[in-house]
């Protein structure tokens, strides 16, 4: 059986505003204190009126720019009617026919094949979030609990075209989306806390006798981890292949099905659909007036955008000579990490050197200490100073590591380490590279002349180059900052010529 998976994603992200979308209640994740962030507006008491939070719209428009969406100069909000306990007004203020943005795309690169594809976006619109229901897990049919802290917080819905062709592509799309939204600081996209949520529409195009047969579309709801998105889609594709082979149902033969994802069992399960769910009876919200934005206002927002992750990767490869892999490792750690890298690079003047240190020494320390780059005690300017000395040939890489270790030790002891600390450490520990060949010469003579080394010296003379190791070690101990490579060469030259 030949088939192509057809996948479209609907992603909801919460915006990083201080207050809710239409009232002054705080926009905070606060599950331990239910129902303390509500007011007459967000719980829909009669006589209350919503007023649009300008920052929520600005963050939405900023996001649209990063997602290559067209921005509307005129937009409005509509009421979407449905009954659910987490929706106190019995309608959600959303956008129907005139969303603030439409027709965009996100570029994704698949790790498995290295292939780059464009996932088109249909639209992004701004709406209010619902509250949170907690169901009685005892199975005895107890009451459900409703927390309305989240009710009315600003929520961005981003809808993709069904352009995605694999579970892996869906995951990578979501990861790239999260990275982008974090870079431009519009959302923290935390899937565990629900500030990023994803629904997937999945079906198959079965290829049979030159015909392309679409199977019924299934919507998998409430995927709350990247792993979950990938696993749920993989499972759903397999399930739909079996379903096609047994009942050969095509799109339109049955109503669209909604399924949930059981992460523990690793399978999707059927859910009772909301009755007449499609009949939301949208109409323009009479409590909110339309919004117009001029092109000049858009330009002002555009000016606040940073360099996007994809552009940053490209410039690291083409301008700094990094490998694709290193560029991704640095960019994918987030904006603060990439900013740190940029500063180290600009101080030391060598992107590759900076990349080596960030992807190895710095990353190892962050992992060991379980901290983020923002909490790292060696500032970018200080690490940059160390690397600059390596780049200029003033210290060896090995000495650089010793300085790095000492900087960490000093800051662990509570001192602030600065660029000056670097010079002090190099001087105190005698780590400056010994460039005086005369001094190296004397040290080599002393080691070669030492009777303890007579056997090693004979071996090297006889062509056994590996015997030179202990000799180098002794010279280095004598001189500290000498460059091991040149010491090795000088010893060999002396003994074999």
């Amino acid at each position: 059986m030949e088939f192509t998976p057809i996948i479209g994603l609907e992603v909801h992200v919460q915006l990083l505003t201080k207050s809710k979308l239409f009232c002054g209640c705080p926009n905070l994740f606060n599950p331990d204190n239910p129902n303390v962030q509500t007011c007459p507006v967000c719980i829909g008491l009669p006589g209350s009126l919503p007023v649009m939070n300008q920052e929520a719209l600005r963050l939405s428009q900023k996001t649209a720019m990063a997602l290559n969406l067209n921005l509307a100069n005129f937009t409005k909000w509509d009421r979407k009617q449905y009954y659910y306990p987490d929706l106190p007004k019995a309608y959600q203020i959303s956008q129907f026919d005139l969303p603030f943005s439409y027709d965009g795309w996100v570029e994704v690169t698949l790790p498995s094949s290295g292939e780059t594809t464009k996932v088109r976006l249909i639209r992004a619109h701004l709406e209010e979030d619902a509250g949170k229901n907690m169901h009685d897990e005892s199975g005895r049919g107890g009451d459900s609990k409703v927390d309305l802290n989240r009710t009315g917080t600003p929520l961005l819905e981003i809808v993709s075209e069904p352009d995605i062709r694999s579970a892996e592509e869906a995951r990578v799309f979501l990861e790239e989306l999260r990275l982008l939204l974090r870079y431009i600081e519009v959302s923290d996209c935390n899937m565990q806390e629900g500030s990023m949520r994803c629904d997937a529409n999945v079906n198959l195009h079965v290829h049979e006798d030159g015909e392309k047969i679409p199977t019924p579309i299934v919507e998998v709801k409430n995927l709350n981890s990247f792993r979950g998105v990938e696993a749920a889609i993989e499972h759903e594709i397999k399930r739909q292949i079996k379903a096609w082979e047994t009942d050969r149902k095509r799109i339109g033969d049955v109503p669209k099905e909604t399924r949930g994802w059981d992460a523990d069992r690793g399978q999707t399960f059927g859910q009772r659909g909301k009755e007449d769910a499609a009949d939301y009876r949208y109409f323009p919200d009479p409590d909110l007036v339309p919004v117009t934005t001029t092109d000049e206002q858009f330009d002002a927002i555009r000016a606040t955008l940073c360099v996007f992750p994809a552009d940053r990767r490209n410039s690291y490869v083409s301008d700094l000579g990094l490998s694709d892999y290193d560029a991704s490792v640095i960019v994918d750690q987030g904006r603060e990490y990439a900013d740190y890298f940029d500063e180290v690079t600009s101080v030391c003047g060598d992107g590759k050197q900076a990349a080596n240190w960030l992807t190895q020494d710095v990353q190892r320390e962050l992992n060991d200490r379980k901290i983020e780059i923002a909490e790292f005690s060696i500032l970018a300017s200080v690490l940059g100073t160390v690397l600059q000395k390596i780049v200029k040939g003033e210290i060896t890489i090995k000495s650089g590591r010793a300085v790095f270790t000492e900087l960490l030790a000093q800051s662990d002891d509570g001192s602030d380490v600065t660029a000056n600390s670097v010079d002090t450490i190099i001087a105190d520990k005698g780590l400056g590279k010994v460039q005086d060949t005369g001094k190296i010469d004397i040290a080599i003579q002393a080691v070669i002349g030492n009777e303890r080394n007579a056997k090693a010296v004979e071996d090297v003379r006889g062509g056994k180059q590996q015997a030179v190791g202990p000799l180098i070690g002794q010279v280095m101990r004598e001189l500290k900052g000498a460059d091991a490579g040149s010491v090795r060469q000088m010893i060999i030259d002396k003994l074999t010529s």
């Binding site: 409005k76 005139l98 169901h135 459900s144 323009p284």
Partner: protein
Amino acid sequence: MLSPEDVQKVATLARLKLSEEELEQIGHQLGEILDYVAVLDEVDVSEVEPMAHVADVFNAFRADETRVSLPREESLSNAPKTDGKYFLVPQILENA
């Protein structure tokens, strides 16, 4: 005149339970309202932009500032049922 099925659908969406007689009676009344409004169909609006709002007002915004929310007791004070922390509602069936 609306069919009883149409009336039933509207009633279901509004969470209203109607008897047979009510379905008939309300179908009649709704039909009359629709006929009354249908007069508007005679106006040629092909050259008219759809109106988004009756008031000729745009861009009513507020700054992103927080205000004090209601105390929890007050927020829950109209709830038919509560445990002092949450609104309590009859069990919601998620799974089929």
